[in-house]
Symmetry: C2
Subunit: 429 residues, 2 copies
């Protein structure tokens, strides 16, 4: 293709004029700016990446991100917990787009560390008020009819540090205790029916108690109504086996409800007459109000959204002109029907564009394409779900629940974006 | 929770009775069998994974699959190509479920190896019959309105070795040149309009020529109609930056069309009066018929499906009884509306269950839940798309196109499953 390469040289020359001509357009301006920054590899005669061979297909039997993306990783906050065994790390949502969270950077929360459990050693017991207690091996679970669903999993403590005004400077840390994956598994209902619920009598007042195989066991109580609704016993996420840190080989998926219920390394499901009132649902994962009374059984994650870019970890790196405001929205009660964005701290709102129609109990990606004038912004987003619920302001939430809570903070987040493009976590009164 | 642990001991005793009782049910039988295999960790007093602490949240800043899943990787076939620089590896679809393919195990096809190209060095030129040639930096691309779509990418040669009856013994190798990811990027249409198409005049007979920044450049011609339809200039897959082997930082996404058009490390888009007739669309990626005449411009990947389990790499490991027949279906022309499954080599067909409603130009997961009687099966699947097209048999395809082709083999695949659960790639006449 000599002709072809001649063309290329021709068009490279053309580009120099073109870029100048393009200077008249906003995008052209950006292109010109970047083209001016350092020698342009398109113009230089030798491009190292085009002058030799790259890696073969045997180089990465299982691939990892390119080294230039080495900062797009889960991070924990050292001062948050006494150690990393019972702790949290955060999804780098400031650097992600779309809605799927890769398992490799999906946040983790463990109570006694991520254990290693072989499929061959795995057992799931269903006992208590059932017609016949059963134990399932991993191979048994694979023989039941399977379902696939994309669901978000959010820690009840996500954004919790905002209650009393602590302002972590990064959306990864304020909102990163969340992931969104396509889960494959067996409905819990199917396994409960296999064990038989006749023994349980009236199911309306029955509960299940679920626990994991790790030392903490992380036992939680769930009303039978939810157990028989959409709860999954999952063994794949995003098509693949669960990662060790996500509960390999089997975890519970409790759509729309707080992540602590999504028991990893699921070991046992007991059918009982009432809740156990375990540690994880009394001293933890309850919400203490202003008057000292604690709300309990606050399982559902209400509608919430956040702008992921621009944000403190994702500043604007260009001047005025076209800017993509980018964010995530979700609701544990159903689908996101709309997201509004404000650039003036909530005085005026503009409808954002949902990248796809909202899916029930799954992340939605929203965009607002603006022509930034280069002045500072107070960026906010406000989600709506198909129940009509609207994401509250921080003030509204504090008026209702005070400042003693740790969990279930779904308030509107504000980023102060300066004219230099840098962003900061702030409160607007 | 002493009471709790007492309960656990109680229920472990109960399980012993339970398992026997459960022996009456098929699933119980399976459970009993597996419980009998070796000491049951549920019964033993010490479970190593529950008696200590696991890994902390700082153990895997970026996570990899658990070591027990080390065989779920991309594999190449050494005899297929002269070297691994211009070669293919295959997605381990025999071991995956759901529809999303993680980037780390999504098949690769390179023509001169996977190159390493920094975002800072990246440029995309649009030239040819445009009002003003433009060059875009990566930062420029991020300023245009973005879209997210889940699309499959299938190599035109996928299943090609079946034409002449070569029968690779594994669905990873017969059908694994495919992946399905959520892509985020800018519509190519937006960038073409930025450069201006007035110069091109009547667009109906115009083409674009796209090439990559690697040494092969892998140039391909695409009709303007498709370029202005749903083609994406993508920079994220499954939320994350593209992996190096998938075209970091930018690749072309050409929904429903053969993978060779999905140019990686996208460098240039030229608007032209006609196709270039490059190497990759003349000596390669054309389909030679029985009479020696070659079909060209055969871009669309027609409706296709395959049973991924049971299959040669995923034999049935249990006896008669409940069995999940599991597979994938897709169409480059639209959505999958149905999949039929036959266990007798195509004499009788039963409708499979789609895990979710079919999405346009994306993988669908289907299941057929059967009660296997333990006798041998000739397993087949047959996909239908929303154009009414039905996946053909191998015989129908050969009658139409002979056996000289390499590309676009979308015929019905047959697995011979023996009564011992092992499966083999066979042809049925």
């Amino acid at each position: 293709m000599n002709a072809g390469s001649k063309d290329k040289n021709a068009t490279r020359r053309a580009f120099l004029k073109g870029a100048v001509a393009a200077g008249a357009t906003v995008t052209g301006t950006a292109a010109l700016t970047s083209a001016k920054a350092g020698p342009d590899p398109l113009i230089s005669e030798v491009q190292e990446w085009a002058s030799g061979l790259g890696d073969g297909v045997d180089a990465t039997p299982y691939g990892l991100p390119v080294r230039f993306e080495g900062d797009v990783i889960r991070r924990n906050v050292e001062w948050l917990t006494a150690d990393t065994i019972s702790s949290i790390n955060f999804t780098p949502i400031h650097a992600l787009d779309g809605t799927i969270t890769p398992q490799g950077c999906a946040f983790e929360r463990h109570h006694s560390g991520a254990i290693e459990l072989k499929k061959q050693d795995y057992r799931l017991m269903i006992n208590g008020l059932v017609d016949r207690p059963l134990v399932f091996s991993y191979a048994d679970l694979e023989r039941f009819p399977r379902e696939n669903h994309v669901y978000f999993c959010e820690c009840a403590a996500n954004t919790g540090m905002e209650w009393a005004g602590a302002q972590l400077n990064g959306v990864q840390f304020t909102h990163g205790m969340i992931h969104n994956m396509e889960y494959s598994g067996v409905p819990l209902k199917t396994l409960l029916n296999e064990a038989g619920l006749g023994e349980a009598g009236n199911l309306a007042d029955k509960w299940i108690y679920v626990e994991g195989a790790d030392a903490s066991s992380n036992g939680r109580s769930i009303p039978m109504e939810k157990a028989l609704d959409d709860v999954l016993v999952a063994f794949k996420a995003n098509g693949e086996a669960l990662r060790k840190e996500h509960g390999y080989p089997v975890r519970l998926v409790v759509p729309g409800w707080e992540g602590n219920l999504w028991v990893k390394w699921l070991r046992r499901v007991e059918v009982a007459n009432g809740p156990v009132e375990s540690r994880e649902e009394t001293s933890k994962y309850t919400d203490t109000l202003e008057d000292g009374v604690s709300r309990k059984w606050t399982w559902v994650m209400d509608a919430k959204s956040v702008v992921t870019s621009p944000s403190p970890q994702s500043p604007i790196l260009h001047g005025p002109g076209p800017l993509v405001i980018n964010g995530l929205a979700w609701s544990g009660r159903g689908s996101i029907t709309g997201v509004d964005v404000s650039i003036d701290g909530g005085m005026n709102w503009r409808p954002a564009r949902l990248a796809r129609e909202g899916e029930s109990k799954a992340l939605s990606r929203f965009y607002l394409d603006v022509n930034w004038d280069g002045t500072e912004m107070l960026l906010q987003s406000r989600a709506r779900d198909d129940t009509g619920y609207v994401q509250p302001t921080k003030r509204q939430l504090r008026e209702a629940r005070g400042e003693n809570s740790i969990y279930h903070n779904n308030c509107i987040q504000t980023w102060w974006v300066r004219s230099n493009g840098e962003a900061e976590n702030v409160e607007v009164s």
